[in-house]
C-alpha cells in the first residue's frame, strides 16, 4: 500500500482494497505489454534489430541490451530506454520547477530541486527587482540576499545543462519569483505530468498553485504578476498618494496579511494534493479542484481530509471515474 499507514477500520479496508483492485485491473487492461517493467540487469528484448539506439537507463553487455535501472521500457522508433519510476527528478529544458535556496554563492544561488545535484540560478539570468536591463555590478552581487536568501522558495525554469552536466535555471519574467505566504509540498516527481501550463491561478479561492515538474508543489496566496514598467508607475503614483495621505503603513500591513479564508483554502488545496500523492494518483489541477469540491460537498473539515474515510472515498471516486472513461472509449 505504497508505504502509507492509514488507520482503517475493517469496512474501509475492504472498500479501499476493492477500489484499488479495480484500478489495477483497469490499468492492466488499458496498457499494452510493450512497456514491460524491468529491474536492474534484466535483458531487454530487441528482436535482433539493427541500429537500435540505447537511451537512458540501458547499457550493452555481451551483445545484449541490459537495463541499468528499474522502470518501464519505452520505445520510440528504434530508441529503447527505461523510464524510471519513483526516482529523483530528471530535469528537461523548459520545465517549471520549484526549489529551495540552499546557498548564496558568488553571482549565483544554489537551489535544491530534488535532482541528483543542486541547480544553479545565475544572477545574470534573472530579473532584477527594479526591472531595468543592465550589467550586473558588484553592488548587485552584494545585495543578492535582498532578492533570495537561504531557505527561500523560488520558482524558475530549466534553461539547460552545462558541459559538465550541471543544471542551470533562469527566471526571466515576473511570474518567476520568491514564493511566500503559502505551503510547499514535496511529492514524487512522477506524479506531476508535464503539461503546457504549470502555473495555475485558482480564481475561486484566490490561490496560486504551481505544480513544479520536480515534485515540489507550491500552494500560496495569489499574487498579481505585474509588468515591470507598469508596476513602477503604479508604485510611483501610489507613493505620491501615500505622501499625501500618509497611509503607507496601513498599505504595507494589508500586503503582509493573509486573510483567514485564503489560509483555509490553501490548507484545503494542500491536503488535496497530499491525499492524491499518498494514493499515488496523478496530481493535476483538475483533480485537485475536484477533491476540494468533494471535501466541501461532504462537509469535511480541513483536517478531516487526511482521515481514512476521505482516502477511501477518493479512491472509490477515482476508480469509478476511470472505469467510466474506459467505457466511453
Amino acid at each position: 500500500m505504497r508505504g502509507v499507514q492509514l488507520s482503517l477500520n475493517k469496512t474501509q479496508k475492504l472498500r479501499l482494497e476493492t477500489a484499488l483492485e479495480k484500478l489495477e485491473s483497469l490499468s492492466s487492461s488499458t496498457s499494452n505489454n510493450s512497456n514491460a517493467s524491468v529491474t536492474v540487469a534484466d535483458t531487454i528484448p530487441i528482436n535482433y534489430e539493427d541500429g537500435v539506439l540505447k537511451g537512458h537507463g540501458t547499457s550493452e553487455m555481451d551483445g545484449r541490451v541490459v537495463a541499468t535501472i528499474c522502470g518501464l521500457v519505452e520505445r520510440v522508433n528504434k530508441l529503447v530506454y527505461v523510464r524510471a519510476l519513483r526516482a529523483r527528478y530528471k530535469p528537461e529544458i523548459g520545465d517549471i520547477i520549484v526549489g529551495r535556496v540552499m546557498e548564496v554563492a558568488p553571482k549565483r544561488w544554489r537551489l535544491e530541486i530534488n535532482f541528483s545535484q543542486d541547480a544553479v540560478l545565475m544572477l545574470s539570468s534573472m530579473n532584477l527587482p527594479d526591472g531595468i536591463q543592465r550589467r550586473r555590478t558588484a553592488v548587485d552581487e552584494l545585495s543578492m540576499r535582498s532578492i533570495f536568501e537561504e531557505n527561500d522558495i523560488v520558482c524558475a525554469e530549466v534553461r539547460g545543462f552545462q558541459h559538465d552536466g550541471s543544471l542551470y535555471l533562469q527566471a526571466r519574467s515576473q511570474k518567476y519569483r520568491k514564493l511566500d505566504r503559502g505551503q510547499l509540498l514535496r511529492i514524487s516527481p512522477y506524479l506531476v505530468k508535464r503539461r503546457k501550463q504549470h502555473f495555475h491561478h485558482l480564481d475561486q479561492y484566490g490561490v496560486d498553485l504551481i505544480l513544479g515538474c520536480n515534485g515540489f508543489i507550491w500552494v500560496g496566496e495569489h499574487v498579481e504578476a505585474k509588468d515591470d514598467m507598469v508596476l513602477d508607475q503604479m508604485i510611483k503614483s501610489e507613493q505620491e498618494n501615500a505622501s499625501l495621505s500618509g497611509s503607507v503603513s496601513s498599505r504595507e500591513q494589508e500586503q503582509s496579511h493573509t486573510s483567514i479564508e485564503i489560509r483555509q483554502h490553501i490548507c484545503r488545496i494542500a491536503n488535496a494534493v497530499r491525499v492524491l500523492s499518498t494514493l499515488g494518483f496523478m496530481v493535476t489541477v483538475e483533480l485537485i479542484t475536484e477533491l476540494v469540491d468533494l471535501s466541501i460537498s461532504h462537509n469535511l473539515d480541513i483536517h478531516e481530509m487526511l482521515g481514512a474515510e476521505f482516502y477511501v472515498v477518493v479512491a472509490e471516486k477515482e476508480a469509478e471515474r476511470r472505469s467510466l472513461a474506459t467505457k466511453k472509449r
Partner: protein, 813 residues
C-alpha cells in the same frame, strides 16, 4: 544577451541569417533601446509596436560623395554620362549611348545564341575585349581603384583572366603584396599552399588585380579584402556579395552586366540592388565624387534605365517563415506561445498595415458602383441573366460538338470554319445575341503534348488539340520585338497568316471545303486562298454558309446535346419577346450593368481579403505544422514536447524533421563515422551541380535511405496540409559532395578532395563548417536521449573534420 544595453543593428535585411536576427529582436525578453540602421521605416515601426517603445527616426537622404552614372555601350569606345552628380537624367546622352551599341542585327543573333555576355568576353577578333578596354580607360583617367561587379563566380574569374596583360602595380607594391600574401598563407600547411586557387592567385594579385566571390577560400577572401583596403589592388572583380556587409568602397564601380540570373531567368537588376552596389563608389573624404559605370550590351528603354539608376530602394517584404525548430522551442517553454511570435512577425505587421488601404479601396469601389444608375434595372438584369444563360448554353453545345471525339474527322485541310474573335483590348464581353465570327481555312491540326509522361495512355479523345488556321490577321510588333497576332474580320486590312488556335476557339464548322495550294509560304498563295474564301462567302450570301449538321453529319448523339439545343431555342424565343430588347440603347446599358457587376465582385473579393488578413496571417500554416508534429510524435495532443521533439529542438542548422527521423530509425547508429559525416553533408549542401559524379555504392545506399526518410516526412507534411512539394523537398538533399566529405573525414588533404569534386573551394569549406555546426547540435541531441555511443561517435566526427585549412582562423581575429 542580458548585459546588452543597446542593440545596434545595421542593414537588418539581407539573406537568411539576418532573418534570424529579426526574430531575435522579436523575442527579446525585454524592451531594450534598439538602434537599427534600416532601409525601411516599417521595421522601426514594427519594433516599436512589439516592444511598446517610442521609435526615433533619424533619416538621411544625402550622400557625402555624389555619384556620376555613366553608360558604356558594348563594342563602343566611350563613356556617356547619363546621370550627373546632381541626380539629373540626361536623355540625349542616353540616346547617344544606345546608338553606339553594336548594330541590332548582331545583337539579335547573340540573343538567339542565348549568350548575353559573349561580346563582353570575346570582343571582336583581334581587338581587346570590352572589359579590358574599360579597365584600361579607367586606369588612364585615374579612376582607380575600381570594383567590377558581375553576377556569377565563373564570370568573375573569367573576366579577371582577361586582364592577364595588364600590370597596375609598381615594384614596391609588388613586394608588399607578396609579403602580406605569404604571411597570411603561413598558417596553411605546405600541401594547402600548393592548392591551385592559392598559387594562381598571387601573380594576379601582384599585378593589382583581384577576384572576390564566395567560392574562394575564406582565407584568400580575407587577404584580398585586406589588400584592397590597403590600396594594393587597383581592380577587383567581385560578385554581389562584396557589396553587402563589407565596408570597402572604391572610386569607381563597374557593372559588367545589366541583367542578373535570378534562379529561372535573366532579369534587369533592380534599383535596390543597383543602389547597394553603386553605393560602393566614392570613398568618403578621398574622392570628391564616385563614378558608376554600367556596361550595356543591349537596348533598353529610358524608363527601365531610369528606374534602375534612379529608382528607390526595393520595398521590403517579409520572408518570415515558420520552422519546426522554432515552433518546438516555443512550445516547450511555458511562456512561449507560437501564436504570439506570429502576431509580432513583420509579415503580420505588413498585412495589418495594408488593411486601411483595403478599406479605402473597397469604399471607393462602392461609391463608383453606386454612381452607376440604370433605368429599368430589373428588366435589364433579367435580360442580362438570360444572355448569360444563353451564352453558357451555346458554349456547352459547342463543347459537345467540338469535342475531339466528334470533330476530329472533320478537321480536314481546306474546310471553312468560323472563328470567334477575341478582343484584346477591352475585356467586356459582347452583348449581342450573335457572336463576332470570322472565317478561316483549316490547314492542319495537331495534338498538344502535355508535360506529363503518361500522355500515351490517354485516349485520343481526351487529349487537347490545336488547329492551324489560315485567316486574316493583324500583326502588331510591340516594343520588345515580340509579335502579337490578332485575328481580324475578313474584310479588314491585315495580312493573311496561319495561326494555331485551340479547338475551343472555333465557333462552327461549315460543310464547304476549299482546295488549298500545297505551298502556303508565299504571301500571294495565302492571299489567293483568302480571296477564295470571300468568294464562297458571297456565293452563299443569301442563306448563309451551310453548316455541318451536328446530328446528321457529325453523328452527335447525346441527350445533353439535344436538351441544350432545345433550351437555346426556347431562350431565343424569350429574347424576341423581351420588351427591353427593342430599346435602342440596349448595348450601352448592358455594358454599364456589366461593369457594375464586376465592381460588385471586386468589392466582394477585397472584403474577403480583409477578413482573412484580420485573422492571423500564418494561422493556417501554424495549425498544419502543429498537426505534423503531433502526427510524427514530436508533441502530444496537449502541446507537450516529447522525446523526439526534444531532439528536433537541438537541430537548427539542418532540416530538423528529416534528421531526427533518420536518427531515431537507427540509420546513424551502425555506419562508420566517415560514412555518417558524408551522409550528413547532404543536409548542408544546397548548390546544384550539373554533372556531379555519383557517390560510391555504400554512400549511394545511405543516400537512398535518406531520400526515403525525407519522402516520408514530406508526405506526412502534405497529408497535414502543409504546402510542400514532395519531390522538391526530397531533391533538396544533394549528394554532390558526399564523396569529397567522405574523403575529408578519412583524412585526405584538401587539394586531394578538390580533385574529386568540381565545386568551388570556398563553397566546400562553408559546407564543412556548417556540417560541424550540425554535428555539435547532434551531440546535444544524443545527450538528451542518453545515447552515449552515438554521442561519442558525433564527437569523433567533429574531431575528424575539424582540421587544417577548413577551420583555419580568420585573419581578422
Amino acid at each position: 544577451m542580458r548585459c546588452i544595453t543597446c542593440v545596434t543593428e545595421k542593414e537588418v535585411l539581407y539573406g537568411k541569417r539576418v532573418l534570424l536576427w529579426l526574430q531575435r529582436i522579436l523575442v527579446l525578453y525585454f524592451s531594450l533601446p534598439l538602434s537599427l540602421m534600416l532601409r525601411s521605416l516599417q521595421i522601426g515601426l514594427q519594433s516599436m509596436q512589439v516592444h511598446q517603445q517610442p521609435c526615433h527616426i533619424v533619416y538621411t537622404d544625402y550622400r557625402p560623395t555624389p555619384l556620376q552614372h555613366y553608360f558604356f555601350p558594348s563594342g563602343g569606345n566611350g563613356l556617356y554620362l547619363v546621370v550627373d552628380e546632381k541626380g539629373k537624367f540626361r536623355e540625349n546622352s542616353f540616346q547617344k549611348a544606345l546608338n553606339a551599341l553594336v548594330p541590332p542585327g548582331e545583337g539579335d543573333k547573340k540573343r538567339e545564341n542565348g549568350k548575353w555576355q559573349k561580346g563582353l568576353f570575346v570582343g571582336k577578333a583581334g581587338e581587346d575585349s570590352d572589359i579590358f578596354k574599360m579597365v584600361k580607360m579607367i586606369i588612364q583617367r585615374q579612376y582607380d581603384p575600381v570594383i567590377c561587379f558581375s553576377f556569377s563566380k565563373r564570370e568573375c574569374e573569367f573576366l579577371a583572366m582577361q586582364m592577364a596583360k595588364m600590370d597596375l602595380n609598381n615594384e614596391d607594391e609588388k613586394v608588399n603584396i607578396e609579403t602580406i600574401f605569404w604571411s597570411a598563407m603561413d598558417m596553411l600547411s605546405e600541401d594547402d599552399k600548393k592548392l591551385p586557387q592559392v598559387s594562381n592567385m598571387l601573380p594576379l594579385l601582384k599585378r593589382g588585380i583581384g577576384v572576390h566571390h564566395s567560392g574562394l577560400l575564406p582565407i584568400l577572401k580575407e587577404v584580398i579584402e585586406i589588400l584592397f583596403q590597403e590600396g594594393l589592388i587597383k581592380c577587383l572583380f567581385a560578385t554581389e556579395t562584396f557589396s553587402i556587409g563589407l565596408n570597402m568602397p572604391a572610386k569607381t564601380v563597374v557593372f559588367t552586366n545589366v541583367r542578373k540570373f535570378d534562379g529561372d531567368k535573366f532579369r534587369w537588376i533592380s534599383s535596390g540592388e543597383y543602389i547597394q552596389m553603386s553605393g560602393r563608389a566614392g570613398r568618403r573624404g578621398i574622392d570628391e565624387r564616385g563614378i558608376c559605370i554600367l556596361m550595356v550590351d543591349e537596348k533598353l528603354e529610358p524608363s527601365t534605365a531610369k528606374l534602375m539608376v534612379k529608382g528607390s530602394a526595393d520595398s521590403l517584404n517579409s520572408a518570415f517563415h515558420l520552422s519546426y525548430n522554432m515552433l518546438l522551442n516555443q512550445i516547450r517553454s511555458e511562456d512561449g506561445d507560437p501564436v504570439n511570435l506570429l502576431r509580432n512577425s513583420f509579415y503580420q505587421f505588413q498585412v495589418d498595415r495594408a488593411i486601411p488601404d483595403l478599406v479605402k479601396q473597397a469604399k471607393s469601389l462602392e461609391e463608383e458602383r453606386d454612381s452607376i444608375i440604370l433605368e429599368e434595372e430589373d428588366s435589364l438584369e433579367n435580360y442580362y441573366s438570360l444572355l448569360q444563360q444563353f451564352k453558357s448554353l451555346k458554349k456547352d453545345v459547342r463543347d459537345i460538338v467540338l469535342s475531339p471525339k466528334y470533330c476530329l474527322p472533320f478537321l480536314q485541310p481546306g474546310r471553312l470554319v468560323s472563328i470567334q474573335l477575341i478582343k484584346v483590348d477591352d475585356n467586356l464581353p459582347s452583348f449581342s445575341v450573335k457572336d463576332d465570327v470570322t472565317l478561316g481555312v483549316i490547314i492542319n491540326f495537331e495534338r498538344i503534348k502535355g508535360l506529363s509522361e503518361d500522355d500515351t495512355n490517354k485516349k485520343p479523345e481526351d487529349a487537347s488539340y490545336t488547329v492551324d488556321i489560315l485567316t486574316r490577321c493583324a500583326v502588331h510588333k510591340d516594343e520588345a520585338g515580340k509579335r502579337t497576332i490578332s485575328i481580324v474580320p475578313l474584310k479588314d486590312p491585315g495580312e493573311p497568316a496561319v495561326v494555331s488556335l485551340p479547338i475551343s476557339q472555333i465557333d462552327s464548322l461549315s460543310s464547304v471545303r476549299l482546295v488549298i495550294p500545297k505551298d502556303l509560304l508565299p504571301v500571294e498563295a495565302r492571299e489567293n486562298t483568302l480571296k477564295k474564301v470571300s468568294e464562297v462567302l458571297s456565293r452563299f450570301a443569301k442563306d448563309g454558309l451551310p453548316q455541318l449538321d451536328p446530328e446528321d453529319d457529325m453523328k452527335v448523339q447525346s441527350s445533353s446535346y439535344r436538351k441544350a439545343v432545345r433550351r437555346i431555342e426556347a431562350l431565343e424565343n424569350l429574347f424576341e419577346k423581351h420588351e427591353i430588347a427593342k430599346s435602342p440603347l440596349i448595348e450601352q446599358k448592358l455594358k454599364l450593368l456589366h461593369t457594375k457587376k464586376q465592381l460588385t465582385a471586386k468589392i466582394k473579393s477585397i472584403k474577403r481579403t480583409m477578413r482573412s488578413s484580420t485573422a492571423l496571417a500564418f494561422k493556417d500554416e501554424l495549425k498544419a505544422r502543429k498537426r505534423v508534429l503531433r502526427r510524427l510524435g514530436y508533441v502530444t495532443s496537449d502541446d507537450v514536447v516529447e522525446l523526439k521533439g526534444k531532439v528536433a529542438c537541438e537541430i537548427s542548422s539542418a532540416d530538423e524533421l528529416t534528421l531526427t527521423e533518420l536518427m531515431f530509425n537507427g540509420v546513424l547508429k551502425d555506419i562508420k563515422v566517415e560514412e555518417m559525416v558524408s551522409l550528413l553533408s547532404c543536409f548542408v549542401w544546397q548548390e546544384k551541380l550539373q554533372d556531379a559524379q555519383k557517390p560510391r555504392d555504400e554512400l549511394e545506399l545511405l543516400f537512398t535511405q535518406l531520400q526515403d526518410t525525407a519522402r516520408r516526412v514530406a508526405k506526412v507534411q502534405l497529408e497535414c496540409k502543409v504546402q510542400i512539394d514532395v519531390e522538391n523537398f526530397v531533391s533538396s538533399f544533394r549528394p554532390d559532395i558526399m564523396e569529397a566529405v567522405f574523403a575529408w573525414a578519412k583524412g585526405s588533404k584538401f587539394y586531394e578532395i578538390m580533385e574529386i569534386t568540381q565545386v568551388f573551394e570556398g563553397s566546400l569549406i562553408r559546407a564543412i563548417r556548417r556540417l560541424e555546426e550540425v554535428l555539435q547540435q547532434l551531440i546535444q541531441a544524443a545527450k538528451s536521449i542518453g545515447e552515449t555511443e552515438l554521442e561519442a561517435k558525433f564527437e569523433d566526427a567533429v574531431i575528424k573534420i575539424k582540421r587544417d585549412i577548413v577551420f583555419a582562423a580568420s585573419l581578422y581575429l
